[in-house]
């Protein structure tokens, strides 16, 4: 794993605003990537929401995400949108999908990879970085 954080602490802009998101980040702090799963109809959903869009139930449990993940799409950012990012560009942003979970995806980054090696569909594995105090973020590396 890389020694340094992929991206720096960007401050308050990273703070959750919706109470539904707090639990997601509390699990991340324990290095567990968990998504909501409806107790009634067993359908997964993400981002967190107060009710199940499939059956309307408010009963939920948080299940561990499948380990099988892949790169669904990506961009390589060259413009530093914050002075804090000047030394980090170019960096990639990955849209990571979980083939066993349909359209559930998360925004993340792929570590230790040159932009030209990013390939849609490439298998990824989950790693964690402590980006800021109490902010552990789910990141990915090439599985191969």
């Amino acid at each position: 794993m890389t020694m340094h954080n992929y991206l720096p602490d960007l401050g308050p802009i990273m703070a959750p605003q919706l109470p539904e998101h707090l639990i997601f980040w509390e699990y991340c702090a324990k290095r567990e990537l968990r998504f909501q799963c409806c107790i009634e109809c067993t359908q997964w959903r993400h981002p967190p929401a107060p009710i199940c869009p499939h059956c309307g139930s408010m009963k939920v449990k948080w299940k561990i995400a499948p380990t099988r993940a892949e790169l669904f799409s990506y961009t390589v950012v060259h413009h530093a949108s914050s002075p804090l990012l000047c030394e980090h560009v170019p960096y990639n942003i990955a849209i990571v999908s979980f083939p066993d979970l349909g359209d559930i995806r998360i925004v993340s980054n792929v570590l230790d990879i040159a932009p030209k090696d990013l390939q849609i569909g490439m298998p990824l594995k989950l790693v964690w970085q402590e980006q800021a105090p109490e902010r552990v973020v789910p990141l990915f590396m090439s599985e191969t």
């Binding site: 308050p12 961009t75 060259h78 942003i93 849209i95 359209d103 925004v107």
Partner: protein, 396 residues
């Protein structure tokens, strides 16, 4: 042409006035402020319609415009404010949505004459390429830690996927930027008037967020524009040529509730294509026309790939065909489907897309600086990818 509406023709909405301020680069009108620009554009629109400001009964805007209804009532001396609408959503998703609300107000009799306006003075602290301007996006905590902090990087992955799935190349994106810049050369109001763009300049421009280069991204501008919407019956007593609103509609596909400003969980089939299929269907059905009858379009061009996606979503070419469609010269002046004839958001000004509606009205009056001969029916779209976004079909 037929219409599926149950509303009698005399009560159908039309646009009878358009108004604009100067369009400038970001910051050049900061000393005046958004309220003054909104009032100036509104006055031009009211006078263009041959009306008096006191005759305005409704206000409609979008994207959190800061010229609040009571400020506009105060400045314009509105006596009978009976309707005020703010369309949810940032950017230009509501450009045709605010028109749709005005149409609803006019056709339902809630207000006789409705002013639609949008005014922007770009603040130094809220540049589109700067983190912080989107701190109120409720799912931002799922994006910001990963460096997704500006519209360009939020939308770029859907464009990456689009180009991957449909063999779209940089040259296709460039053609959009070059065609619209060329249109700006005949439009003295365009901020990019007198500044032609070459393919070499395009390719040499700095990368913002792949696949988006600088010239794939819209401008940052100061300016305002406005429309007056009333009924066809009232329009008959006014001096100018009324432009019919055949349909104005909000919409967006299912499953786009956490899209580019969320966790990108759109349905895989739409992810790299766009969310306009439902809206397009509703729009053409409501207008009673088919895409084949459209003479020109003003397509929301916050980013060049969004123009290609919109061409496909709104049936102006087949799915996956937009690259070849633009490469064949179709979107240029004199082409089969001229687009963004005033220069669009890329090269006229980024007034969140309301200036695209204004240009559509000019086309249908025969007053464009890149006039399409015999223009009868025009399509206008707002920002594809947002939920909901919006579109309109206008006719002379």
């Amino acid at each position: 042409m037929h219409t599926s509406s149950y509303i009698p023709h005399s009560q159908r909405a039309c646009i009878v006035g358009i108004g604009e301020t100067r369009y400038t680069k970001r910051g050049e009108q900061a000393d005046r402020g958004e309220w003054a620009l909104a009032c100036e554009a509104s006055l031009h629109a009211v006078r263009d319609a041959g009306l008096d400001p006191q005759s305005i009964e409704g206000l409609a805007s979008y994207s959190g415009d800061t010229s609040l209804p009571w400020l506009m009532q105060h400045a314009l001396g509105i006596n009978r404010l009976r309707f005020a609408s703010m369309v949810w959503g940032g950017g230009g998703s509501g450009a045709c949505g605010s028109l749709a609300h005005a149409v609803a107000a006019v056709e339902s009799g809630q207000a006789a004459n409705v002013l639609v306006f949008r005014s922007i003075v770009q603040r130094p602290g809220s540049r589109y390429g700067q983190a912080g301007g989107f701190s109120e996006v409720p799912q931002m905590d799922l994006l910001a830690p990963f460096g997704m902090l500006m519209p360009a990087s939020m939308m770029a992955p859907s464009f990456t996927r689009y180009m991957h799935d449909y063999s779209i190349r940089s040259e296709h994106l460039a053609e959009v930027a070059l065609a619209f810049r060329d249109n700006a050369q005949s439009n003295p109001r365009a901020v990019m008037h007198g500044l032609p763009l070459s393919m070499d300049q395009y390719m040499a421009s700095r990368m913002i967020a792949e696949p988006l280069r600088l010239y794939d991204c819209c401008q940052e501008n100061d300016g305002a524009c406005a429309l007056i919407v009333t009924t066809t019956e009232r329009a008959q007593d006014l001096p100018g040529k009324a432009v019919q609103v055949l349909a104005a509609q909000q919409g967006g596909n299912a499953g786009w509730g956490s899209a580019t400003m969320g966790s990108h969980t759109m349905p895989a089939a739409d992810y790299g294509w766009g969310n306009g299929e439902q809206l397009s269907h509703d729009l053409y059905a409501g207008a009673g026309v088919t895409p084949a009858e459209v003479d020109f379009a003003q397509i929301y061009d916050h980013f060049t790939p969004a123009v290609l996606m919109s061409l496909e979503n709104f049936g102006l070419c087949g799915r996956g065909e937009a690259g070849e469609f633009v490469a064949a010269g179709n979107i240029r002046r004199g082409g089969a489907m001229p687009l963004n004839t005033a220069g669009g958001l890329l090269s006229e000004a980024y007034i969140h897309g309301l200036n695209l509606v204004v240009e559509a009205v000019r086309q249908l009056r025969g007053e464009s600086t890149s006039q399409v001969p015999d223009a009868r029916i025009g399509l206008v779209t707002a920002g594809i990818g947002s939920t909901p976004f919006s579109a309109a079909i206008l006719a002379s």
